[in-house]
């Protein structure tokens, strides 16, 4: 049995094992911490910052998905500082990407009373859909840059390396080599990227066609 210790989350004493993250410990004890980029099958990059919590003695908020639990830690998962950060992140997200097919994020917006029109005159990331192969459609206006598709295409699963990033900062996009059509890349159409996409930015072609009132299944 691995080494165990106790720490405090929201004033409650909980037991944790060495090597567990704060997120794992919290969820094990029924304490909810919201996440967006986190996925159990991919390496955690702590980039969406929705899972930030207050840890006593630390100057800045800490991402629970990557911070290891330690003995005697005192953690607050829903303080006013935490709330402000999460609400603002959600409001910025709503002003950036099309979240119409991201029900989990919509639920978070409700929970945090985030105003989807908080940022008037904000420039969204508008990118036309890319329909270049028979298997899936890429609607990057819906992309929230959680990185999961890039990760499963690379070392986290498939080792195909068909996609990576282009641009930088706000204008970062998921892209192929020199923007080539997916059929001209190393993509093996395994579908893992579609499976881990949280916003339907990657959508099966048949679902995409059905949504547009088209019949995607011709007779053979």
């Amino acid at each position: 049995m691995s080494e165990t210790f106790t720490l405090s989350i929201n004033g409650i004493q909980v037991t944790a094992c060495k090597g567990q993250t704060l997120l794992e410990v919290a969820r094990e004890h029924g304490i909810d911490i919201p996440t967006i980029c986190y996925h159990p099958a991919t390496q955690s990059n702590g980039l969406c910052r929705m899972c930030v919590v207050e840890v006593e003695g630390m100057r800045l908020l800490q991402p629970a998905c990557v911070v290891p639990a330690q003995a005697e830690m005192k953690v607050q998962t829903d303080s006013p500082r935490v709330h402000r950060a999460r609400k603002t992140i959600l409001e910025m997200l709503a002003s950036t990407a099309d979240l119409s097919e991201a029900p989990e994020i919509q639920r978070m917006m409700q929970a945090y009373q985030a105003d989807p029109s908080r940022f008037p005159e904000a420039e969204p990331r508008h990118i036309p859909p890319i329909d270049d192969n028979p298997m899936y459609v890429r609607e990057y206006s819906k992309c929230i840059l959680c990185w999961r598709c890039v990760q499963v295409c690379a070392e986290d699963a498939q080792y195909t390396y068909a996609i990576h990033f282009s641009g930088r900062g706000y204008h970062t996009r998921i892209d192929t080599f020199y923007g080539l059509p997916m059929t001209a890349t190393t993509c093996v159409f395994c579908g893992q990227c579609v499976g881990v996409c949280p916003t339907d930015a990657l959508e099966p072609k048949s679902e995409y066609l059905l949504e547009q009132g088209k019949y995607p299944f011709p007779f053979r």
């Binding site: 910052r49 929705m50 930030v52 500082r81 603002t88």
Partner: protein, 549 residues
């Protein structure tokens, strides 16, 4: 052998880490990198195609579309815009021959640039032509290196600066390195710890502790990295040290390597400082030929236009041939740094302090400065002062004394605001003129010294325009990894556009505060954590600016 293979021959053995130098070599030859060339580089270095594309896309100075061979980079950042840079950019975009002679039929790419680190040459311009870079001097002539104005009440670190490059013979040999070799590595570390030297790159971490941690870390090889990616708007002190006294920095690196047991060193030089590369190469050759670097191999790596690569872990990623995304810390570089090995990474000015400490001892070092901020500091004075330049002074000098040193205000103006620490810093006001410039005094006043930026704005200036420059800078330089900074820098810049054009909406001040505090509190790295400091300090000092009209 293909043309590309021969161009990138020196980097083939580097694998992935050779990616940036390889891309830079091909681009220097052709002006841009075509799809076929990128694919050939990918094949030769065994890097996935999409990742090669991703790397080119990350860096401002790498191009994957055809373009004119020569580029004129026109700085339009805060200090230069005070001296007409924006108008100059418009004029030059219409007619580049105003600044550069061109042959018939030859065209020039004119581009706005973030701070070029030439605030003492404002409005600054740099001409890029393959590997040859030149800068526009104040007298209107193109030069192969800047002419820096150096002053100050002490000349401890800058003793040999101000007269062009110091050769090894003029430098007088590595006396501190000789003395270090009579000490054990731990004694060297103890001396640096006793000196109280803090990192000069902005974070002010105790240098001796950093060295000790890397020395004790398990793992081999160990690295010493000199962070010469000086890109904070308003900072140009490292440029001076590297240009005028490169051996001082090299000797500091050599001593650091001995102290921590490193066998390899890197100098990561800002891409826009390419004109310093020949100076560094010559100094390296001199030191190698004199046997001063035996057992320690030093390689120069060029940045490629990305402020974020001054962040230590993003810098490692860049050397490793990747996009400059900062890593989650901990683990810290001293245990898991470059190539995941124990690494000491120090700023140029930090390393330049080391030879004095080792040659003369910690007690002599502490004769300058305060108890908690020992030694001297290089201050970069820019903006509305009579003599913009680099001034060395002991910690504890006041802002007023610094301004006097720089000849006071330009054109008889009076100071309205002083940006301390650069774009990532905060605004001081005339009531701060008597504040002692030490880490402890500034911390108490909620100010920061950062890397030593003192950018002065007189009473004529519209601070809203200054804030807009800062906002645009961070929106341009955010790497895009973590959400608070990726979206926050953009939203902040949009609101600052409204502020600067007098179109603030009700609630904009609260939006700036929510975005600012979220970036400060929840961003992954120092860029996002400081991207709202100047704005938040301005809201505190001049709340009336943020009220919708």
């Amino acid at each position: 052998m293909s043309d590309i293979a021969s161009l990138i021959q020196p980097y083939l053995s580097h694998g992935r880490s050779g990616l940036l130098p390889a891309l830079q070599a091909v681009q220097a030859e052709y002006g841009w990198i075509s799809r076929e060339q990128a694919a050939e580089i990918a094949r030769l270095l065994h890097v996935p195609l999409a990742e090669v594309h991703g790397v080119i896309e990350f860096y401002d100075l790498l191009h994957n579309k055809p373009r004119k061979k020569r580029t004129l980079h026109v700085c339009t950042d805060a200090a230069c815009s005070l001296r007409g840079a924006d108008q100059r950019l418009r004029d030059l975009s219409a007619d580049p021959t105003l600044a550069v002679k061109t042959d018939p039929g030859e065209e020039l790419q004119v581009e706005p640039s973030p701070c070029l680190g030439l605030c003492d040459h404002a409005p600054a311009m740099v001409l890029e032509n393959g590997r040859e870079w030149r800068i526009l001097g104040l007298n209107g002539e193109w030069m192969d290196r800047p002419l820096s104005l150096v002053g100050g009440t002490v000349r401890r670190i800058t003793a040999r600066c101000g007269n062009g490059r110091t050769s090894l013979s003029a430098y007088g040999g590595y006396r501190a390195w000789n003395r270090a070799q009579q000490l054990s590595p731990q004694q060297v570390i103890d001396e640096v710890k006793a000196s109280g030297l803090f990192g000069r790159g902005g974070a002010a971490f105790p240098t001796g502790l950093k060295w000790e941690s890397a020395a004790r870390a398990e793992g081999w090889p160990k690295y010493v990295v000199c962070n010469a990616d000086e890109s904070e708007p308003g900072t140009f002190k490292d440029r001076l040290l590297l240009a005028d006294d490169p051996h001082l920095v090299l000797e500091g690196m050599r001593i650091a390597a001995y102290a921590v047991g490193a066998s390899k060193g890197y100098i990561y030089l800002r891409g826009e400082y390419a004109y310093l590369r020949p100076i560094l190469e010559q100094a390296l050759r001199e030191a190698q030929e004199a046997g001063l670097l035996d057992g320690f191999e030093v390689e120069i790596r060029m940045g490629a236009g990305a402020y974020i690569c001054g962040e230590e872990t993003a810098l490692f990623e860049s050397i490793e041939g990747k996009r400059g995304f900062p890593r989650i810390k901990p683990p810290f570089p001293t245990t898991h740094g470059l190539f995941n090995k124990p690494t000491v990474i120090n700023n140029v000015e930090t390393l330049a302090n080391v030879p004095f400490i080792i040659e003369h001892g910690a007690a002599a070092y502490r004769e300058l400065g305060s108890e908690k901020s020992p030694g001297s500091k290089l201050f970069c004075l820019s903006g509305d002062v009579a003599r913009p330049g680099i001034y060395e002074a002991p910690f504890g000098i006041t802002l007023k004394e610094l301004l006097e040193m720089a000849g006071g205000m330009a054109e008889g103006g009076s100071p309205q605001a002083i940006l301390l620490g650069g774009a990532a810093g905060a605004f001081a006001t005339p009531r701060h003129l008597d504040i002692r410039l030490t880490y402890e005094d500034l911390r108490q006043a909620s100010l920061t010294l950062g890397a030593g930026v003192v950018m002065v704005f007189d009473q004529r200036r519209d601070l809203r325009q200054v804030l807009l420059k800062i906002g645009r800078f961070f929106a341009h330089e955010s790497c895009g990894k973590c959400y608070p900074c990726q979206m926050g820098t953009r939203r902040q810049a949009e609101i600052l556009e409204r502020l600067a054009s007098g179109r603030l909406l009700p609630g904009d001040r609260e939006r700036l505060e929510d975005v600012g505090w979220t970036m400060s509190d929840a961003s992954l790295c120092g860029l996002g954590q400081t991207a709202a400091m100047a704005v938040l300090s301005a809201i505190k000092e001049w709340p009336e600016l943020f009220t919708p009209s």
